[in-house]
Amino acid sequence: MAELDLIDIEKHFGANWVIRKLNLRINQGEFVVLLGPSGCGKTTTLRAIAGLEAIDSGEIRIDGKPVESLPASDRDIAFVFQLYSLYPHMTAFENIAFPLRAFRMSDKEVREKVKSVAKVLRIEHLLQKKPSALAGGDMQRVTIGRALVRRPKAVLMDEPIGALDAKLREEMRVELRRLHIENQSTTVYVTHDQVEAMSMADRIAIMNDGVLQQVGSPTEVYSSPANLFVAQFVGSPIMNVVNCRVESSDSTTKVRLDGMESSFQFGGEVYQRVAAAGHDDIALGVRPEAVLVERTEQPGYLVGEVHLIEPLGAYDILDIALGKAVIRARTESRFVTRLHEPVWVQLDEIRTHFFDRKSGLVLNRERQSKWQS
């Protein structure tokens, strides 16, 4: 297994930038997900690593060696696409064994390797079937088996489970992650689905408009988003983002959301780092689970009205009107059962973020300087 280095990668199609100054190191044995909306440059990046796409400038290194001059077939990288691309006339066994045949391996050795990868993928009982007899999820398992069987230096996957239905995707997420734990293959995985990224990655690299926005563990990008784009792309339900005024009041900070009459009270240091830093165009970001809701009046809580209840089964999402501002909160199931009931709301200060609306950058804590460096 290998480490991958992407250094100052740039690529454009005509006047359109596809990738801008991308720097990313993928460590040996790491599972990195490139996450972003369609057109953000993630697939182009993946294809460049594979050697399927030329880059305009920058360098790609595999184990420290530049690979520009190497054709795709010599990079020892396996690629799994969204579509299965299996040989229809071969059994699952033969499909998986195919890449090994080129190495003049003994039948016994081929059998052992295929069996071992099939075991991890839980398709041992399907090995004698042809692709046409397999369900979608099983076909994709065979495709993945074929990619992994020869133990390539790295595995690249482009939305490999995007075409499967929701339940199957849920299962495949667990299995792909499990496969990674057992094989420790250096893996780069492309998706637009933040759930896949969060649930499988060691680190997530979030891209937008060809620009890398943030790289971090799922916890880091979720809890400490570097900017507004990351904050709203990661997490479901979406983070609440509301424009606000931040004012100093004695040793505390008053935060008033646009459309609200009254203010939330925070510690004095919030004002220090937000408004005193010269920022006046500010958005507050808070995830629904960090909106604290009570059914009775509490000190420090502001009254609001429930406009909508969205039951998800395991929990509910409430749309709460605070004056003309609307904020969404996550509560236990049936916490509020009737519309238009009053509730009392506070924001968990530790989990409340402030963003500069112009640059989109987060103003919290030390993270901003870290990110900008």
């Binding site: 239905d165 849920e170 667990v174 499990r178 649930s199 799922p218 916890t219 809890s223 039951p311």
Partner: protein, 363 residues
């Protein structure tokens, strides 16, 4: 607005029964969701209501009218599809006016103008009225499509997967927007989807369809917490419910094939006696949020996988050959492959007939 009644509706295509003997009462001002996988018959049902398909048997009542023989145009229902089907060369205004200019209506220009403005305001697209629809974003287009349905003030709204073409983030916003709009208008709305999250979050009630049959009708809460059978239990809720086959053996349920035992607390024993009768075999269902990591339990396994979803963790625990899902707090830190012990919240267990899949509590 109006209520809708379907009596014993059936529709076949060739040899395939798309809808079987479907009866349904949808109340005035209700947001009703038809939920099911592809091929369940939900779109066919919707098309029968709209008058775009003719059922072989059964009745369609809109309000107090039996409309089987009425043309689609006369039924006074508005349809919104997954594809926006807007006129691309027309402005938003023209698209909104279009359904009002039909010869059937003969509305005065002033009335048309005021309705268009009102709808545009409700949907927050007033600033887009003079823009061509091919210059709009996906979310804006879908708002215009919905606006075109609203402007007619029809008796019923029928929507067929209207949100599935927009990205996840926008879908979330449009969900609460659409639900808010329906409440505000007091509209009767029938919404078809295969997405259980949409069904749960928007519907007053959900009708779950499978293979042309209506399996269960209930509020989101009922469908989630009292599923009629294992199909509904698995189709609704994410992560998916855990299901095991087992047999009752004295004070425990022995789960097969790879054995582990659920030792019954007194309350569950009583419940089992009530519902299981003489039966010995059953299928047990437990939702991931009702599986808890505990210090000591009769069910021991290893941590097979841990997904960090930010707001919470989804754990997969391997017990014998079973993979059991559990949700736990975002701060849970257990290394993969570590031994863990789990317990089920027994008052939350679902008990099903292993043959028919039916929930024993409802049999």
């Amino acid at each position: 607005m109006a209520k809708l009644t379907l009596n014993n509706l059936s529709k076949t295509y060739g040899d395939v029964a798309a809808v079987r003997n479907l009866s349904l009462d949808i109340r005035d001002r209700e947001f009703f969701v038809l939920l099911g996988p592809t091929g369940a018959g939900k779109t066919t049902t919707l098309r029968c209501i709209a008058g775009l398909e003719k059922p072989e048997t059964g009745e369609v009542w809109i309000g107090e009218d039996l409309v089987n023989e009425w043309s689609a145009a006369n039924r006074d229902v508005a349809l919104v599809f997954q594809q926006y089907s807007l006129y691309p060369n027309y402005t938003v205004r023209k698209n909104l006016e279009f359904p009002l200019k039909s010869k059937l209506r003969q509305l005065p220009a002033k009335e048309i103008d005021s309705r268009v403005h009102k709808v545009a305001e409700t949907l927050r697209i007033s600033h887009l009225l003079d823009r061509r629809t091919d210059r709009l974003s996906g979310g804006e287009m879908q708002r215009v499509a919905i606006g075109r349905a609203i402007v007619r003030e029809p008796r019923l709204f029928l929507m067929d997967e209207p949100l599935s073409n927009v990205d996840a983030k926008l879908r979330e916003l449009l969900r609460s927007e659409l639900r808010g709009l329906q409440l505000k208008l007091g509209a009767t709305l029938i919404f078809v989807t295969h997405d259980q999250v949409e069904a749960m979050t928007m519907g007053d009630r959900i009708g779950v369809l499978c293979d042309g049959e209506l399996i269960q009708i209930g509020t989101p809460y009922e469908v989630y917490n009292s599923p009629y059978n294992t199909f509904v239990a698995s189709f609704v809720g994410t992560p998916t419910i855990n299901l095991f086959d087992g047999t009752i053996d004295g004070d425990r349920i022995v789960v097969v094939p790879e054995k582990f035992e659920i030792v019954l607390q007194p309350a569950l024993r009583v419940r089992l006696n009530q519902v299981a009768g003489l039966r010995n075999a059953l299928r047990v269902g437990v939702r991931p949020e009702h599986v808890k990591l505990v210090a000591k339990s009769d069910i021991a396994g290893t941590l097979y996988g841990a997904e960090d979803h930010g707001v919470e963790m989804i754990l997969t625990i391997r017990v014998g050959e079973h993979l059991i899902r559990a949700t736990s707090s975002a701060t849970t830190r257990v290394p993969v492959n570590a031994p863990v012990q789990i317990a089920f919240m027994q008052d939350k267990l679902h008990l099903f007939d292993p043959e028919t899949g039916k929930n024993l509590a409802q049999a």
